[in-house]
């Protein structure tokens, strides 16, 4: 069968094609969601390490616990009302307690206290009680609102160091990073810092003292940073990989689509006309195709990025300018096979204009080819753009998977075994390509025999 409807019918019979189409729709919906759900300046937030301090850094995905890896997720205590009591002589005391159970054999990666209030409190007092009954008391003088106090902050660590000295009986010059958490979680005794982690119920009580009444916000929080995060973990700065992947999706799709449409449409029209008109002009057009074919895409784009600031569209068009020759070559051969048919000559004999002939005979054969190659061209465009991003060339203020991977590379993620930082962004490039490939192949299969058939 022929005709447009039969192409659709045949396509609907291809199982791989339909699966691809479903995946494609899913990706599209997801990227629309990303565009709508996140503010447009999210990229600058992403690039600011400060914004991500509340997250455990270098944490693997949470689901690794299912594989038996001891990597507890973060615990966040937030909200809840502060109990307040006046303690006479104009002193005010506000307090809150948290209780959590720690079942892991490793310590958390950090604890972060984030007070939020209005007013000027004298101090905040945190009483950390371990399952074995020992308590560490931490005094933070003049706490600042909107600050994050973590275990390594001087304000907190000095008290922990005192506790360590008390327990081990030795004077600790410096405590190396991470040992604060050993102090907070390990079984007590002279070997505090090398003792096993205490499993059980921890109580944390926070008292805020003030000379005048203050308003403590429910958004004050205490976070116990775990050793795993989300579905895909975090990078060195605590940025969730899953967020980076989501943010990179609309860019990848848009760039791939613009690149592919521009390259294929131009290439097919150029090649189609070249094959159709033939003769010397065809020869010249072929040569012109060769000139662009000989431009090495990657180095050329790198070099050119020093002359112009890239935007998404200009990047896409540049990539298109370097990839159209492939489609022109294919389209030309299709056009040649059509041209060899006597009906083209017959049209001339009938007095039908060349223009009309091109539309009645050539376009119906070139169009399906165009669609199939557009679909197949999208992953190629995405791959090239991500590769450029990996080399540090991408439009500003855009989150790219290539960029994430570049950072992973620079920080030697592979050496340190932070595999999730490397695996997921790279995998996304493949994942996004897959539906296009499935759909493109299904289309190509339907289209190609008709092109070659007499």
């Amino acid at each position: 069968m022929s005709g447009k409807s039969s192409y659709l019918e045949e396509f609907s019979k291809s199982k791989a094609g339909m699966i691809g189409l479903a995946l494609l729709l899913f990706l599209l919906v997801l990227s629309v969601y990303v565009v709508l759900a996140y503010p447009s300046n999210i990229a600058s937030t992403w690039n600011n390490p400060e914004s991500w301090q509340g997250n455990p850094a270098k944490a693997p995905p949470t689901w690794v616990t299912l594989l038996g890896v001891d990597a507890p997720p973060s615990l966040e205590f937030k909200g809840g009302q502060w109990a307040n009591a006046s303690v006479g002589s104009g002193n005010y005391n506000y307090s809150q307690s948290y209780t959590f159970k720690w079942t892991s054999k490793v310590t958390p990666s950090n604890i972060v206290f984030s007070p939020r209030f209005s007013g000027t409190p004298l101090e905040a007092e945190m009483t950390w009680s371990k399952p074995d009954g020992q308590s560490i008391v931490i005094y933070i003088a003049s706490p600042q609102t909107n600050s994050n106090y973590d275990a390594t902050d001087q304000d907190i660590s000095q008290w922990i160091h005192q506790f360590v000295e008390a327990q081990t009986g030795t004077l600790q010059g410096t405590v190396t990073f991470g040992e604060e958490l050993d102090a907070l979680f390990d079984a007590d005794g002279p070997n505090l810092l090398s003792n096993p982690v205490l499993q059980g119920t921890y109580h944390v009580r926070i008292d805020v003292l003030s000379r005048s009444p203050i308003a403590l916000s429910p958004s004050s929080s205490l976070t116990v940073d775990g050793r795993s995060y989300g579905i895909m973990g975090t990078d060195l700065y605590g940025r969730p990989i899953q967020l980076g992947i989501l943010l990179g999706l609309p860019y990848a799709l848009e760039l791939g689509a613009v690149t592919s449409v521009a390259a294929v449409v131009f290439g097919v029209v150029f090649g189609g006309i070249s094959g159709y008109i033939g003769g010397r002009r065809d020869g010249f057009m072929q040569w012109f195709t060769l000139v662009f074919l000989a431009l090495p895409a990657l180095p050329f784009l790198v070099a050119i990025s020093y002359s112009f600031t890239l935007s998404l569209i200009s990047e896409a068009l540049l990539i298109a300018a370097l990839s159209w020759p492939f489609y022109a070559i294919i389209a030309r051969s299709v056009a040649l096979s059509v041209k060899s048919q006597a009906y083209v000559e017959a049209d001339r004999a009938m007095g039908i204009s060349a223009f009309r002939t091109f539309f009645t005979h050539f376009m119906p054969r070139l169009t399906p080819v165009t669609i199939a190659y557009t679909v197949l061209g999208i992953p190629a465009g995405i791959l090239l753009a991500q590769t450029l991003a990996f080399l540090g060339i991408a439009p500003p203020n855009i989150v790219t998977w290539g960029g994430i991977l570049d950072e992973a590379f620079v920080q030697e993620a592979a050496l340190f075994g932070w595999w999730w930082w490397v695996f997921f962004p790279g995998m996304m490039i493949v994942v996004v390509a897959t539906p296009f490939v499935l759909v493109g192949f299904a289309l190509d299969k339907i289209v190609s025999p008709k092109v070659s058939a007499k």
Binding site: S2, G3, S340, Q341, A342, Y343, E345, A346, D347, R348, A349, M350, G351, I352, S353, R356, T360, H361, P364, R365, K450, A453, K454
Partner: protein
Amino acid sequence: MPAGSTNDPVLKLEDLCVFFTSKRFMEKAVVVKAVDGVSLEVGRGEVVALVGESGSGKTTMGRAAIGLTAPTSGKVTLVENDLEVDVGKAKGKTWKGLRKRLQIIFQDPFSSIDPNMRVYDSLKIPLQSQGVKDAGEVSRTIDDVMRRVGLPKELLDNYVFQLSGGQRQRIGIARVLLFNPALVVADEPVSMLDASLKGDIIHIIEKEAKERGTAFIFITHDMAVARVAAQRIAVLYLGKVAEIGPSDRVIENPYHPYTKALLQASPTIEPGMRDKTKEVNVRGDLAISTEHPPGCVFHPRCPLVMDRCKTDVPELKELEPGHWASCWLY
């Protein structure tokens, strides 16, 4: 009357030459003399067959006759209502107008009509591009030509690829008949068809010639088909007319050694031949060389070659009324 002429001609070829020059970089220019000084007239309602081997120039001559290929020299004239149109020099509007008067039927029905079109569209588009816009007229004309080529109207809704070879060739003819042309070049219209379908196609051509006075140039390599289809036969060899005359005469009383060889070689229903060797009185293959031999172009293959043939070019001589041959034997 000069050789090849006829009463009431529709189309006149006068000393027609079509040379193809291919000059490629770094190579000597190559000139292929596809048609070399042919004069021929085709009368109203007449079917003239051009017969020859591949490379004899018959297709080029047919294409030049309807203006698809420009002549190198010589003249092609369409004569209608005392109006003469120089086909070879027609351009632009005149050329497009000629498309209604001069037509061609192609050899391969599988490639001469776009298989992915509906039959109706393949007939409608030529009409529309010649300015027939009225829907009623379009459909009337289409119904009419379908009837004339003996196809049911129901086929109009089909795609061309759903049709058999015989049906497609009829559509090819129907397309040509849309404008009731003055002359049609039928380029091997039956050579790719099954035997059982050849007769019908030839009959359609005969009927159009008789009833509407359409002239046909019927190109074929098959002498037997030429005899059945045409009133006159012109035998071509290397772009020149070797012999021309009424079909029956050319076949029953051939003069030119090449015509004789063609007739000898043509298979006939003759079971008694099976134990004999067929006489083929020519030597070698048709020279595909681009340089024509001096003298008679046929002399290198001629079994009766004489010294004179190697140097002098023979003219066409009238050996019986209307029956001409170019050979030094006569």
